[in-house]
Amino acid sequence: MAGKKRRKLKLLAETETDGTKMVTEGKEERLELHDWSELPAELLELIMCHLTLEDNVHASVVCKKWHAPAISVRVVNQSPWLMYFPKFGNLYEFYDPAQRKTYSLELPELYGSRVCYTKDSWLLLYRPRTHRVFFFNPFTRDMIKLPRFELTYQIVAFSCAPTSSSCVVFTVKHISPTVVAISTCHPGATEWVTDNYQNRLPFVSSIWNKLVFCNGIFYCLSLTGWLGVFDPVKRDWGVLVVPPPKCPENFFAKNWWKGKFMVEHKGDILVIYTCCSENPIIFKLDQSKMAWEEMKTLDGLTLFASFLSSQSRADLPGIMRNSVYFSKVRFFGKRCISYSLNDSRYYPRKQCYDWGEQDPFENIWIEPPEDISAFI
């Protein structure tokens, strides 16, 4: 137990310069024996910066003097960045919606390629001219090549970072309404494995389908809202007997089916339906009921929607919670277009985005590196 006595060690730091004696006796020069409750704020901060959010909250209510240091070092989760692919040149821009800042990197390694998917800071890219498929981490500049494959009109996804031994790459091609060709690959493989599969319910695969990997399964959402599922271990494919989400009548405008985004969060599949200036509708797949359930709230979650892949985050700064961030930044004011479920409105208002008219390869939400000091 800390004693109450304090020993003040006054220190006279004498510096002889030009014969003058300088005696410094400020607060900094005294080494006091402190109680735990009165340790200097900077030292408390140094200790607390090692704590998780939950432990930080505990520390902040221990006593008065511990409150401010805990708050000052409290870190909430990092938001994804929106990565832009330039039409010309090698300068790639990254937009951080939390800080409203843009960073840039020169990435000549990506010349002639287009992005396909992203996960855990890794990109999957395709070079149409050479049919080269490769992984690339823009922050570490690591590159992992895969065997060549013609992917021109197919969507493709992968399960986790290619540095993991369980990484699987998946792509599905339409053969007929009841037959698909599924091809898989993994880092280190010499070729892609392709098989045809049948589905009893009609299913159309196209470049407009959305892919998500969740609980070991690849989920594929078709244009009309049916879910195809592929188990890469068992190698079986089927279409779930889950009727597509129900949308109101006014949702069926031009290109409405193209304004869909699919994302997973802790084992749940979420789908965002957008239509012109209507408020987006979010559905969650209830696997036990085999039905889509409309979500009026995301319970503090933030979704980041982009054409090829979308992300979810919990514990973001309060103002970002319970919202959907879209892959469009209004450079006046540097705000990302977002929809707030709390306020039931877009920010900024009067949005009428036809996601069917956007360039799918223009940008993508990517997980930033843990240490961003190199980019600031």
Binding site: L9, L31, E32, E42, L43, I47, S60, C63
Partner: protein, 134 residues
């Protein structure tokens, strides 16, 4: 800030910034070898740590030390501006707080809950709200 490197028997021990250097030089033990000076008391441990630093012994070092001993070392390391030791001590102390309840932390460090009644209520509410958000 100029960096001064302290050595012992040819082995580099720690770097100290200029401010820490002048402080270090001004502390000394009395003629009979005893001292009430916190810096002098803690310095041998800091030297020991620095000698073992870089080997896996690093994690063992804080084990046998009481909270108060670690606290004194922390203060001395900060006072003498020895960054590596300071970082290590801060992390060791953080590990002692991890996954513990608020009551446990108070008891463990001998801290009184000195929030005023209204403040206690306000902090309790903030705490509960944050717990829901986590």
């Amino acid at each position: 800030n100029e960096e001064n490197i302290f050595e012992d028997g040819g082995q580099q021990l720690f770097k100290v910034e200029e401010q820490g250097c002048s402080r270090l030089c001004s502390h000394s033990s009395t003629s009979d070898g005893t001292s009430e000076d916190m810096v002098v008391l803690q310095l041998p441990y800091i030297i020991k740590f620095c000698k073992a630093h870089g080997v896996s012994k690093e994690n063992e070092f804080g084990k046998g030390k009481s909270n108060d001993e670690l606290k004194e070392m922390l203060l001395v390391a900060d006072y003498l501006t020895i960054k590596d030791t300071l970082d290590y001590l801060a992390e060791t102390l953080a590990n002692r707080i991890k996954n513990k309840s608020v009551e446990y932390i108070r008891k463990f460090f001998g801290i009184e809950n000195n929030f005023m009644p209204e403040e206690k209520e306000a902090t309790r509410k903030e705490y509960e709200l944050l717990r829901l958000l986590i």
